[in-house]
Structures are given as structure tokens and as C-alpha cells.
Symmetry: C2
Subunit: 197 residues, 2 copies
DNA sequence: AACGAACACTACGCTACCGTAGCGTAGTGT
DNA sequence: ACACTACGCTACGGTAGCGTAGTGTTCGTT
């Protein structure tokens, strides 16, 4: 492939990503990208057919994919690894800073919503498998609601990030799994029953 | 007060709210508000000094305030009431549909960020008091991290709403408190220790 | 009845952004 | 060396949004 093409693509993508991260979707304009990247606007349009197309490409590129768990590892280890991975993406990637924009855009832009659904599907797939496996092995209650479990694993992390409520680090990832295993542990029913009376 | 003023204010606010909810911040334009509400643009500018000012007013009006718990009630009842209130605002109010926009705007617009911080402060204040009280009464572990507790109470609800992961209803509110009490209960340490070996 | 405030309407000027056209230049692969 | 393609540059046309001006009208108050 022509190295000029490769260079243009990467420079524009990086610039567009920076603009989105710094100023939100409103800051990602073709003129701004052209000005800051040094790439001519006409050239940008040769690679992306519209501004929305470029925006979608930026998001598509930045979007995290949860890795499949190592089939050798036991469930708890895999669960901890998955949560640490989620924490890492929120700590080290540009994704973290475009997440708010992404959440909003997926509400109103059908193109972005499609990306969002693919991502959620992929994430929930990985996590759901782990939760079911954990249920089978007796680590959590047998009749666990998978979506509820995912909400408890990911929800606190999400709000910690969006509201700056807690520091995002490995310790958080571990404590999330700890809390989850206690809350959804097979002895949880007894705990709740004991509490009710 | 002049009834014309009152009418204009309420009609414009309602129209602006609708536009924000339907199409996000980009849809809330002065021209659109004027057109749909039937109020002349010059009149709108007589009540709000700019488009951003109107947007802020809409958000400020829609923003939910967590009510102070009844001092007569016991902690667990108050906690359940607070969570049911959170659920209700996400189920019945326009706030639910403008939350994504709000999250994004508070990232980049300082005016909105200020509103966001006031809201978080108010919410966390109410919840923090309840969590501390719960700790004192031995309902949850004594050295509980208040912010962590809040994250576990509100996080799953937030993600359930944003990702359409779970139905938002009273049953969810109750199960959130149930899970929370188990995960943060005074016996949680034993649970975790028992699990580790 | 009369005054004043709030309002509607039209028409602006201004800016920012989108997307395109035309032309000349510079780098790539053969 | 050659043709080809990507690229830069400048200049557009078109649209949408913000905020304002001027004029006349309606409504509320006293």
C-alpha cells in the first residue's frame, strides 16, 4: 500500500481522536481536523465520505474489545482478569475520555448505536459465559440472573469513572469481584433470609 | 407576575426540554424552539440571554434531587426508599432521557459541570449519611468505604438504564439493596476469607 | 381609558461548518 | 524516465445557527 495513504489515514485518525477527546463531538469538525493535522480537507474526503463517517471510524477504532478468557484458567481468575482489563481500558486508553460522548451519541445517532450494540454484545457475551460457568461451579448462586450479575460487575466501575467517584485501579477491579462473589455467592440466600427476620 | 411571562417561560421550557430529549443537545436550537413553541425568538432572548443559558436552565429544572430520608424511619427502610426514588426518576421523568446528554455535557461545558457537581454532592450527601448510619448500626461493615458503597448502590442502576440491561422497576431497587447488604454486610469479611482458602 | 410591558413578525449580519471544484505539485511504483 | 496517484492549496456555494434591530400589535395593569 502507498505509504502516503497510510500516513494520511493515521494522522487524520489521531487528530480526529484528539479533538473528540478534548472537546466532545462538537469539536470534531472537518475544518478543525484539516487545520490541526495539516492534511487538506479534500484529501480527508478522499478517505472518509463525510464527517459522520470519520466520527464513526474514530469510535470504531477506539472501542475496546473484551478478550476471550483463557480456557485453561479457572473461573475466578478469568473473572478477575476480565475486570482488570475493563479497568485498564478506562485508565490507559482514549476510550475513557470519549465514553461520555459515545453514550450520548448512541442515544440519537443510529450509526453509533449500531457500534454500541456490537460492543455490548461482545462484552456481555464474554461476561455472561463467565457468570454461567461460575454458577455451574457453585461459585455463585445457581439461578443467577446473568444480566443482573453483569450490572453489578460493570455498574460500579462505570459510575466510578463517570462521576470520578473512586480511583480506577487494580484494587478496584479486585474489590468489585470480591463484592460480587459475596453478593451473589450461594450463601447469599441465607444471608438475606437471616437478615429479614 | 404577568401571566404572559409565566406562560412564555413554561411553554419555552417545555419545548426546549422536548427537543433535548428527542434529539440531544444538537437539536436544542433557538430557531427550533421558536418554531415549535410559537414564541418569537426575540421573546425567548428576553428571558434567557443565550442558547447555552436556556440549555442550562432546562437541565437545572429537570435535575432530580434526592429527598432527605425520614428521620423516624430506620436505616434500611430509608435506604430502600432512596433507591426506589432513584428508580422512579429514571422511569418516570424526562431526566432519564436527557441523562446521556447531561453526562457528556458535564465533561466539556463548565456551566453544566457545575450543575453536575451540585447534584452529585446532594445525592452523595444523602446516601453517605445513610451508609454511615448503617455502619453504626452494624447493618454493614464498620469500616465501610462510603464512596465504594454508593458506587455499588447506584452503579448497577445507572448501567441498567444506559445500556438497557435490566428493567427499571421497584423490584430492581429492592434487589440492589439486598445485594448491597449482603456484599457489605458485617459477615462479608468472613465470606471473603472463607472463599479465599 | 390609557399607559406600559410583553409579544409577534420580518429581516437582517455574522460566523461556522459541510462538501466540492480546479489546478498545480510532489511522491510512488515500474 | 515515465505515468499515475495522492496530495496541498485556494476558493467557492450552500446551509444552519446565533443574536439583534425595527416596527407594529396585543394584553395586563391601574
Amino acid at each position: 500500500m502507498d505509504p502516503r495513504v497510510e500516513r494520511t489515514r493515521s494522522v487524520v485518525m489521531q487528530t480526529a481522536t484528539d479533538l473528540l477527546v478534548e472537546g466532545g463531538p462538537g469539536a470534531l469538525t472537518m475544518d478543525a481536523v484539516a487545520l490541526r493535522s495539516g492534511v487538506a480537507k479534500t484529501t480527508i474526503y478522499r478517505h472518509w465520505k463525510s464527517r459522520d463517517d470519520l466520527l464513526a471510524a474514530v469510535i470504531e477504532t477506539a472501542i475496546p474489545r473484551l478478550p476471550e478468557p483463557d480456557p485453561e484458567a479457572d473461573v475466578e481468575t478469568s473473572l478477575r482478569a476480565a475486570m482488570r482489563y475493563s479497568v485498564d481500558t478506562l485508565r490507559h486508553t482514549e476510550w475513557a475520555r470519549m465514553l461520555p460522548a459515545f453514550i450520548m451519541l448512541s442515544q440519537h445517532e443510529t450509526e453509533i448505536r449500531a457500534i454500541s450494540e456490537r460492543m455490548e454484545w461482545q462484552h456481555n457475551n464474554v461476561l455472561a459465559k463467565l457468570v454461567r460457568q461460575a454458577a455451574e461451579e457453585g461459585l455463585v448462586e445457581g439461578d443467577v440472573d446473568v444480566d443482573e450479575a453483569i450490572a453489578h460487575l460493570q455498574g460500579p466501575l462505570m459510575i466510578a469513572h463517570l462521576a470520578n467517584l473512586l480511583p480506577i485501579d487494580d484494587q478496584l477491579a479486585d474489590s468489585l469481584v470480591d463484592r460480587f462473589l459475596v453478593a451473589f455467592g450461594p450463601s447469599a440466600d441465607e444471608g438475606r433470609r437471616a437478615h429479614d427476620e
